[in-house]
Symmetry: C2
Subunit: 180 residues, 2 copies
């Protein structure tokens, strides 16, 4: 059954996300309270160039308190279509536009406590077309072959869930990728 | 550079997560504030039985406000080792224990605004050994072959990031899985 939320009360209002206290109707008839983070939807892009390199970005992330390697990603701005966000974000983050932008799938990032919903895209036919990044973004582009990506996964060196999930969704589109 | 957090102030204290306001030192010397969700680490388990079926769970999730298909998962309790959580959670959620529990990897779930960190395991040599689930857990077990899983991914019917990420991390261990 869908929609079990009976009541929602705001507990915290912040610049990026809010916290709501939900009253949820359990299947056995009892009611329980859960805290939920409400946050804008987002996109993740897998940019694959003609030479077979995936373009990652490396940047400091507060949740890990360290620099992380991730696929380019960003929040959908109010009124923006997910595809437009993807087209904007790869120009801002890796300085490239895509001749072809193909939707790979969609997923909830952490459905137990957050509404965050992510659209993923495969970006190909890349060409230089930089846009100025956000004022607080400081990132480096790192290009890796698909084999190098898989080696990093095997060694546990790629530790970002949206990047791993998008790479998995891309498998049917990466016909020539030898996995082992 | 790691550790750019200069100050952390609690903004919200809840039963499952807190919200901290961080003052972060940007690479250009400026300071900026970010909100961060602090939450317990967790595990995701990919249970693969001798017949080649993956055991998923289907349950209502507040972040999606609908029932979702996910790999078994759960929070690490205070003082518990990640491996012990994985062993406990598959008994609670799918009623099976694993003769072999192999770590697949680790990842940050949403490092832009949350500390949530996930350990993933491949559980094999399964045998019945149920533990009572949490009082507010109401879930159904769904067994899918690896081919059925990949069909669902292709159709966009598997929309949970941790499950997609864990399946990707498992690829090197699933030698006989024909992807296409």
């Amino acid at each position: 059954m869908d929609n079990r939320i009976v009541k929602s009360e705001n507990q915290y209002h912040g610049p990026v996300f809010d916290v709501e206290s939900l009253s949820v109707n359990l299947p056995d008839g009892r009611m329980r309270k859960y805290d939920l983070v409400t946050i804008q939807d987002a996109v993740t892009i897998l940019p694959l160039d003609a030479e077979g390199y995936v373009h990652f970005v490396r940047q400091y992330r507060i949740g890990a308190n360290k620099e992380m390697l991730e696929l380019p990603a960003g929040k959908i701005e109010t009124g923006e279509e997910a595809l437009a966000t993807a087209e904007r974000e790869i120009r801002e983050e890796i300085g490239m536009a895509a001749g072809k932008m193909q939707e790979l799938g969609r997923f909830y990032v952490s459905p137990g406590y957050s509404t965050e919903y992510m659209y993923t895209y495969l970006a190909t036919e890349l060409y230089p077309s930089p846009l100025a990044p956000d004022q607080d973004e400081f990132l480096n582009v790192v290009k890796l072959s698909l084999d190098e990506v898989m080696q990093m996964v095997r060694k546990g060196e790629l530790d970002d869930s949206k990047s791993l999930a998008a790479l998995f969704q891309a498998l049917p589109y990466l016909k020539n990728w030898t996995l082992r």
